[in-house]
């Protein structure tokens, strides 16, 4: 294991002089750098917020008079529907698989994560195809009952309700994962104390286990809702007007960046409400494990009817969130008989891979920089910088795109104007619509993913280990190479992989920021689906789902080890 990463990380960190720990003047540079990075990644958010104070233009008044009300109403309905859906599905299935024993439980426990691999737009495309008038479901119903158009009522999938349902079925794993981990981490002893104090098994679940898991569940719901707010592909395909689609339309259709930024600011306000709400729900309930004793969970054994019901309850979300959309996409792929897998697709795939690899490498490096900045100088400023830098994850991609494009366009125009005026040459657009701008957007959006992972792994290298390594004759560089690098290297890989897949799936920011005629798999699928060429969209969508399965596998591995007491940690007195 020591040979896993021979000084690869160390080379990057060599200039670090952390000779004497935390408070040395020579670490000031690191803090300044961390601060600079934090500022840089908060530029898009600041730009969007600054537009709140820009006087409203003609377009904005038009928007406010016509569509703004619909945006708010649709967004609220989506938040309500998805919130309720993910809470019920996520918590319910998590409780069943952790607290009960029934046939197929182990498989379902893992399988319930699968819908995480399906981007919302992919499930939207497949459901639209399945449930539209000419789709297989309605055709079959008409065939069986001899109905024709107008004879029967069928819910319109292209509606707010439809969008909420499909989003809930791919987003519930956030709640499931966190609730499951929370249930597993609870000391059985705490629950047993509840039993001895006169609570039955069900009451001790509702009065002890559920309240203890509440912070985790709240976080899971908040994460799912953030994804809901930032979703563009699914609502666009279902024709549900929300802020994300509004931003897109205002930008491209009406060509008014200021009005788009003002819409983005309102969306951002929703996001911050959500963040604050999550904090408040958690309140002071920072639950720590008060007991250090753990035993295997005493699972309630279910048989017969209850076992079948539990199985169905857990199998349904997997079926509706993964198997059905995945199967539909596969069916379309086979119907087109591979026609859609052409050189164009391979080109888009190469673009996606290139962007994802580049962005994940940068995101991990920046995360390392910030994490070491905090480690070397744990000042409130450095901590704050890291906090701000990881806010991007809560900000919808379309908002980030607008926040990046406005200043870049300004910079390009200013430079161009100055060059024309001074030298009579035109620089054209240097920054906007470039790969650089796109990479920047990805790093802003997904930095939190890599930062959390890197932070957690760096925390495993305790300051005491640094001290020991130093007194055992290792210089700073050798300490990083021989102690830090081997311990954090696997986590750096994980961080890179998570960002990689997130970038692969990303749609709205890519759509707004991409260079002219530059396509990725997600954009390709989106354009085909917009043209109602759903069959052809299946190939790129499936490729994205396949990539999405990687982090699902990683996650299921990680959480199966997440039981304290089972995985002993070193250096715990």
């Amino acid at each position: 294991m020591a040979e896993l990463n021979p000084a690869g990380g160390a080379a990057a960190l060599r200039p670090m002089a952390w000779l004497i720990g935390r408070r040395r003047h020579n670490v000031g540079g690191w803090s300044a750098l961390a601060l600079f990075v934090a500022l840089l990644v908060s530029v898009p958010i600041l730009v969007v917020f600054a537009h709140v104070f820009v006087p409203a233009g003609e377009v904005w008044r038009h928007l406010a008079d016509t569509v703004l009300g619909a945006y708010v109403v649709n967004t609220l309905w989506l938040v309500f529907g998805v919130g309720l859906g993910v809470f019920v599905i996520g918590t319910g299935t998590a409780w069943l698989v952790t607290m009960c024993r029934f046939p197929g439980r182990a498989l379902l426990e893992w399988g319930l994560l699968l819908p995480l691999a399906v981007p919302a737009y992919a499930i939207a495309y497949s459901y639209a195809g399945l449930f539209e008038f000419s789709g297989p479901v309605q055709s079959a119903l008409r065939g069986w009952f001899g109905w024709s158009r107008g004879d029967y009522w069928f819910p319109n999938i292209r509606s707010v309700g439809g969008a909420a349902v499909v989003l809930a079925f791919v987003l519930y794993p956030y709640v499931y994962m966190l609730a499951r981990a929370a249930f597993l981490e609870q000391s059985v002893c705490v629950i047993e104390i509840g039993r001895t104090l006169g609570r039955g098994p069900w009451r001790s679940f509702t009065s002890i286990a559920l309240p203890l898991a509440r912070p985790a569940i709240a976080t899971g719901v908040a994460l799912a809702l953030m994804e809901t707010l930032s979703d563009f592909g699914a609502v666009q395909h279902f024709g549900v007007a929300t802020f994300t689609t509004g931003i897109f339309r205002t930008w491209f259709g009406l060509g008014d960046p200021a009005a788009a930024a003002q819409l983005a600011a309102i969306l951002l306000a929703f996001v911050f409400l959500l963040l604050v709400g999550e904090r408040l729900t958690r309140g002071r309930a920072q639950f720590h494990h008060t007991s250090r004793r753990y035993r295997e969970l005493p699972r309630y054994r279910l048989r017969g009817g209850p076992a079948a019901l539990a199985f169905l309850a857990c199998a349904l979300p997997i079926g509706l969130g993964f198997l059905l959309p995945g199967g539909q996409l596969l069916a379309w792929l086979s119907q087109t008989a591979g026609d859609s897998v052409d050189s164009r697709l391979w080109g888009h795939a190469a673009n996606s891979l290139m962007l994802a690899a580049g962005a994940s490498a940068i995101a991990v490096m920046v995360a390392l920089l910030l994490a070491y900045g905090v480690r070397l100088n744990a000042s409130p400023v450095a901590r704050g910088a890291a906090r701000v830098a990881s806010l991007g994850y809560a900000v919808p991609g379309s908002v980030i795109a607008v926040g990046i494009l406005i200043p870049l366009a300004w910079a390009d125009n200013t430079l161009d104007g100055w060059l024309r005026a001074s030298f009579g040459v035109s620089s054209g657009l240097l920054l906007s619509g470039t790969i650089t701008a796109l990479m920047f957007a990805y790093v802003v959006r997904f930095l939190a993913v890599s930062l959390n992972t890197v932070d957690a792994s760096l925390a495993k290298v305790t300051p005491a280990m640094d001290g020991v390594a130093r007194t055992l004759g290792m210089g700073p560089a050798a300490t990083v190479a021989r102690v830090h690098a081997p311990i954090i290297a696997p986590s750096l890989m994980t961080a890179a992989l998570l960002v990689f897949v997130d970038v692969m799936k990303e749609l709205p920011a890519t759509l707004i920021l991409r260079p002219f005629d530059f396509n990725t798999l997600a954009v390709h699928a989106f354009e085909l689906a917009s043209d109602e060429q759903l069959r052809e969209a299946a190939a790129p969508a499936l490729a994205i789902v396949a990539a999405g399965l990687i982090p699902v596998a990683l996650l299921s591995l990680a959480i199966s080890r997440a039981r304290p007491g089972r995985a002993q940690t070193v250096a715990q007195p």
Binding site: M1, A2, L19, I20, G21, R23, R24, K460, T462, A464, M465, G467, V468, A469, R470, T471, L472, G473, M474, G475, A478, R482, V483, P486, I487, Q568, T569, V570, A571, Q572, P573
Partner: protein, 352 residues
């Protein structure tokens, strides 16, 4: 005269603006084991980190075996000081096997020789069977031994131990403590050990340096500190005491149980500190000296008897430790006297 193994002279250190060490002096003879004892937050761990070179100093100087290693603006980095460091949580490297943890700091010889040296130490400490294990499968006591072996492996000039036994339960602690002292003595390595546990200090140290608020308030052998404390803090931190308030008058202070010398101004409020074994009891009927009291509780603790006494509400209950073999029973009335040798008087203005 040989140079001290470790010398800290007038050392001051601040974290930002917060002073942690003030003008601290500490000298350890080669091969001597010194315990730095004090309440948490008094700066003992910082003192250790300064010796290791993990913290810079703003004033004073540090020497190891006669060579200056730190002064303001200059610090030999820890990897060149030849000190061994052991932390409370052991800080074993989770990614290395036990044998590689121990061989980590050994520089002499090829890989095989380094591993051999590591193996010898592991065998010496009785954990050679775990050489190929990863640290997380070891018990607390085994981890402690591995950490000790790792610190000793490069043959350090000075060993620095930070609360090395606080993670262990009582029974294990005693054994590990004895083994650790035995190894340190055998290798006759200069040792600075930080602890907040007076018992650790008494059982291990040649000398104890009592520390408070960033400075050493008194140092000496355990018996010197116990029987001749120089401050209220030393008296109360280093062993149990009964505290009685009084007023100095004519160079002495009167208590119901006897009068003690109190070389302070007349009218100065003082506190009398009496060790539990500084109180002697006698049956009331044939004695009128001392103060009358009633035994509230009495516990037989093997060779000694712990007695809690009520002095007719004049003070709080007093505790006495009697080892004359007399079984004092609760409810009995007795006379108490003070042993001036085991009682100390300090002004009440001194903080405990």
């Amino acid at each position: 005269m040989t140079a001290p193994g470790l010398l800290l002279e007038g050392v001051s250190h601040r974290y930002g603006r917060e002073p942690v060490l003030h003008d601290l002096d500490l000298e350890i003879a080669p091969g001597e084991i010194i315990c730095l004892l004090g309440p948490s937050g008094c700066g003992k761990t910082t003192c250790l980190r300064v010796a290791a070179g993990l913290e810079p100093i703003q004033q004073g100087r540090v020497e190891i075996a006669g060579a200056e290693v730190a002064r303001p603006g200059f610090s030999v980095p820890p990897e060149r000081r030849r000190v061994g460091l052991m932390f409370q949580d052991y800080a074993l490297f989770p990614h290395l096997r036990v044998i590689d943890n121990v061989a980590f700091g050994v520089r002499q010889g090829d890989k095989a020789a380094r591993r051999r040296a590591a193996m010898e130490l592991l065998a010496h400490l009785g954990v050679e069977a775990h050489a190929q294990d990863f640290p997380h499968v070891l018990s607390g006591g085994e981890q402690q031994r591995v950490a000790l072996a790792r610190a000793l492996a490069p043959r350090p000039m000075v060993m620095l131990l930070d609360e090395p036994f606080s993670g262990l339960d009582r029974r294990l602690r005693e054994q590990v403590r004895n083994d650790t002292v035995a190894v340190l003595r055998e290798l006759s390595v200069t040792t600075l050990l930080v602890t907040h546990d007076a018992e650790d200090a008494m059982l291990m140290a040649d000398r104890i340096a009592l520390m408070r608020a960033g400075a050493i308030v008194q140092s000496g052998t355990a018996s010197e500190l116990y029987s001749q404390p120089e401050s209220a803090f030393a008296a109360s931190f280093f062993g149990d005491v009964n505290v009685i308030e009084g007023i100095a008058q004519g160079g002495s202070v009167a208590t119901p149980m006897g009068t003690l010398a109190a070389p302070y101004q007349d009218g100065c409020k003082v506190r009398v500190f009496v060790r539990p074994e500084g109180l002697s009891l006698s049956a009331e009927n044939n004695d009128t000296s001392g103060a009358g009291a009633e035994i509230v509780e009495s516990h037989m603790l093997g060779p000694t008897c712990l007695v809690r006494l009520d002095l007719e509400g004049e003070f709080g209950p007093l505790e006495a430790r009697i080892n004359d073999g007399t079984p004092w029973q609760a409810g009995k009335r007795v006379r108490i006297r003070l042993d001036p040798e085991r009682s100390f008087v300090f002004p009440a203005s001194q903080e405990m």
